[in-house]
């Protein structure tokens, strides 16, 4: 009797660990799944939505979907002057632009003077910059943050989405994706 109860108890002592294990497994699953938050937009492979954004800064025209379907692949960079990683990726964008890549910009929730100062400081690799003051286009193309960069093919179809800033290592990848998009 005594032995049996001791045995039962020592078995029960492992219960908390088992329960904890279940919770930990749930948390782990939650973490793995959370990565889905950064899955590429479901719009990859689809044409860009129709949009027409006004010019975000003097000297560069605004941006509309027709500009992006002229037969030439290019990059669409979603950025903002208030975002620090956007400044960090500026040299990489400049390198791409210098290599002949056309880069279009979408400035999210920005102010004209802030944006002008940002371009002054970090250089202006953009061909056109559209002002997306409400983040409407951003949502429409499935971007959940800044910066993000899309590869758009000559027909205006989204071919690739790069989430986060472009590091020096990413330049070659983007160039390869652009080449793919040109085919």
């Amino acid at each position: 009797m005594t032995e049996a109860s001791v045995k039962r108890r020592s078995w029960a002592l492992w219960l908390p660990l088992v329960v904890f294990g279940l919770f930990a497994a749930l948390f782990l699953w939650g973490l793995v799944r959370t990565k889905d938050d950064t899955v590429p937009s479901r719009l990859v492979g689809r044409p860009l939505p129709a949009f027409d954004l006004p010019a975000a800064t003097d000297g560069k025209p605004g941006l509309k979907h027709a500009d992006l379907a002229d037969g030439k692949p290019r990059l669409l960079n979603v950025f903002a002057s208030w975002c620090i990683p956007c400044a960090a990726e500026a040299p990489q964008l400049a390198r791409l632009a210098a290599a002949g890549v056309e880069v279009e910009g979408v400035a999210i929730r920005d102010h004209r003077e802030d944006l002008a100062a940002f371009l002054q400081r970090n250089g202006n690799p953009y061909h056109r910059i559209g002002a997306d003051d409400l983040g409407k286009l951003q949502i429409a193309i499935g971007s959940s943050g800044v910066p993000e960069t899309y590869v758009i093919d000559g027909k205006g179809v989204i071919r690739y989405q790069h989430i986060g800033d472009i590091t020096p290592d990413d330049v070659a990848l983007l160039q390869a994706k652009l080449k793919e998009a040109a085919l």
Partner: protein, 652 residues
């Protein structure tokens, strides 16, 4: 330079934590190892170095050194100094540094002062503390370095979330961290006691001040957080059962249970294994809370910057600490000898009931918080809200409060209910009267009625332990208990009254028009633009008159921040002794057309302030108990030192 110095101090502190852990293990394995003498001094220096690192972080934030990435991301030169300083811990890296700093300081303090426990248990405790610290040091140094530099240096910082630019919030999170850290010290004691199997009253007395301290900070943190959400979110509610809120409530529930079981163990040497278990659970709840908030695996109304990578790290720490402690528990708990017995009617039984009910509530909150995650695993998306949490937690809280009315009057070990018949009758009478009044005032609202009936009964019963005592001779811990229990009643009354009697009004007014809400008459006098240091706003001037009295002016705002761009509604509150008027300014009612009507949302919330006054009273009770315990501990310490000194002098 300062940043580098801070980083160096952090590395050194981490190295010392490793030394503390290593020498602790060596001391425990080989009896009489010379390394045993090393553990305490190393713990002291480790704490000092962590403090140095934190001071360096405060300094770079005070100077707005934008070459430090953390400063650039979280501060702005235009911010008021208070928020610059608060910015140091208002982010992930800084808060983790604050955490290890406080943990290091707590370790130093234990190492310097604690002498009640057998030396082996002490070493095991400090070993546990070093082990927990090591994980956080690794986290800081390898995954979230607060001193990382930025190149090129940005000309301006990214600011702090405007919602966070608020005095309440600047000091609210660190309060919770202090609570979490206190629980980590309690955890270290529990692990130390398990390792050496010395679970007894001495262990409980050594652990109790840390549990009390943690519990006070958690109480304050939750109270402040609730008030912050109440006035800052502009939704009129004071508790949303949001994952982030639950993450702070769960450690509190566990700590409350631990506090009570600790007093059983300290006074009566019973509930030994259970107390150790609660020590582990309380700390694991604070880790789970941190994990839920930082990893972003649950969606919350409190938008936090989240990063799954951090989540992975915290989960790994959680698994190592808690998994390890529970494994140790499974091996050791059976060999922890059984504590003293007690009768069914006894103080111990009442406290066991309290513990079981608190654990039940904890289970309810935990399940509700994690349920969305569980269903998502099966492909369904749900959210769980007050319709679940309110009645389900009441199932456990109400019986607990009923027992609270008699529990403190019972004697230890064995008692007769007949002895406390009079107090029970008094409490029952008050509760029944309250019930009758509540039903007539707020018919049909079940939970508020229960609350309105229980609150006065608990209030009266909480004062009964003072009956027949000379108030001057009542010891501080008893005062603490009485005030904390009274605070529960006060907070409960506030919650119930808010639920039962709140009147809400949603209107569109032209300038010059007025509307009634409860006993108030509100007139929209004008709407004007105003500007602050980093925002512009539309400000309404409302003239509110209570029951025909002279109008009082109040100013709700709709604010627009520009770095980063964000709009917030600044509610304006008018506080009277019997409640609060809560006003929020909305949009233009007709989208600009139709001659300028403005949306206003108004609430009259009778007695709502009692919720936070109650919270403050609970914390005050904890503080008195802590002071009482620490004072008597210190007296004992001084006395034993004197005896030791005399013995030494007499050459014995």
């Amino acid at each position: 330079m300062i940043a580098e110095a801070g980083l160096a101090a952090l590395w050194l502190a981490a190295a010392l934590a490793l030394l503390q852990f290593g020498s602790g293990v060596a001391a425990l394995r080989g009896e009489g190892s010379p390394l045993a003498a090393l553990v305490r001094p190393v713990a002291v220096v480790q704490g000092a170095l962590a403090l140095l690192a934190f001071a360096a972080l405060l300094l770079v934030f005070a100077q707005t050194d934008l070459s430090v990435k953390l400063v650039a991301l979280n501060s702005h030169s235009a911010k008021p100094m208070m928020y610059k300083i608060a910015g140091a811990w208002g982010n992930h890296e800084g808060s983790m540094l604050l955490w290890v700093t406080v943990m290091g300081l707590a370790g130093s303090f234990v190492a310097l002062v604690e002498r009640r426990l057998p030396e082996r248990t002490m070493i095991a405790t400090l070993l546990g503390q070093a082990f927990v610290s090591l994980g956080f040091y690794a986290f800081l140094l390898f995954a979230s370095n607060p001193f990382e530099r930025l190149n090129p240096v940005p000309p301006e910082g990214q600011g702090l979330n405007p919602l966070l630019q608020d005095p309440g919030l600047a000091f609210h999170p660190p309060t919770l961290y202090l609570g979490y850290v206190g629980l980590s010290i309690a955890f270290s004691f529990a692990v130390g006691a398990l390792i050496t199997r010395e679970v007894g009253p001495a262990f409980a007395r050594a652990m109790r001040p840390w549990v009390l301290g943690a519990w006070i900070f958690l109480t304050l943190g939750i109270t402040a957080g609730s008030y912050w959400a109440y006035y800052e979110l502009g939704w009129g509610g004071w508790w949303f059962w949001d994952p982030v809120e639950n993450a702070s409530l769960m450690p509190w529930l566990a700590a409350t249970a631990l506090l009570h079981s600790c007093s059983v163990l300290a006074a009566r040497n019973a509930l030994r294994a259970w107390t150790v278990m609660l020590g582990v659970v309380a700390f694991s709840m604070s880790m789970v809370g941190t994990f839920l908030v930082r990893s972003g695996i649950l969606t919350s109304v409190h938008a936090f910057a989240v990063d799954p990578k951090r989540g992975t790290f915290i989960l790994a720490l959680l698994a190592i600490y808690i998994g390890g402690a529970l494994t140790l528990f499974a091996f050791r708990a059976a060999t922890v000898t059984e504590g003293e017995r007690f009768a069914v009617t006894s103080r111990e039984s009442a406290l066991v009931f309290n513990n079981v009910m608190l654990t039940g509530t904890l289970g309810i909150v935990l399940m509700g918080t994690l349920y969305p995650l569980v269903t998502e695993a099966f492909g369904e998306r749900v959210s769980v809200g007050p319709p679940y949490f309110n009645p389900m937690s009441a199932v456990f809280v109400v019986p607990m409060l009923l027992v609270l009315t008699v529990g403190p009057l019972l004697r230890w070990r064995r008692d007769q209910l007949a002895r406390v018949r009079l107090p029970m009758l008094i409490a029952a009478g008050v509760a029944l009267t309250g019930l009758a009044v509540a039903i007539s005032l707020a018919p049909g609202k079940v939970l508020p009625i229960i609350g309105l009936a229980l609150a006065p009964a608990v209030a009266v019963a909480s004062l009964l332990p003072l009956r027949g005592r000379k108030l001057r001779q009542v010891k501080l811990p008893l005062w603490g208990m009485v005030i904390a229990h009274f605070g529960i009643a006060v907070a409960l009354l506030g919650m119930a009254a808010e639920g039962a009697f709140t009147t809400e009004r949603l209107v569109a007014l032209r300038v010059g028009e007025s509307t009634p809400v409860g006993p108030w008459q509100i007139r929209l006098a004008r709407i004007e633009p105003v500007a602050g240091p980093n925002w512009t706003a539309l400000e309404a001037t409302l003239e509110a008159s209570y029951a025909g009295a002279a109008p009082i002016v109040t100013h709700p705002q709709a604010r627009m921040f520009w770095a980063p761009v964000q709009n917030t509604a600044e509610s304006a509150l008018l506080t009277r002794w019997n409640g609060q008027l809560y006003t929020v300014l909305g949009d233009k009612a007709d989208g600009g057309a139709n001659g300028g009507r403005w949306q206003l949302r108004l609430w009259w919330k009778p007695l709502v302030t009692l919720i936070w006054i109650g919270g403050a009273l609970i914390a005050l009770g904890g503080l008195l108990a802590l002071l009482g315990r620490v004072a008597s501990d210190l007296r004992r310490l001084v006395a034993s030192d004197k005896i030791a000194f005399r013995r030494q002098r007499q050459g014995r």
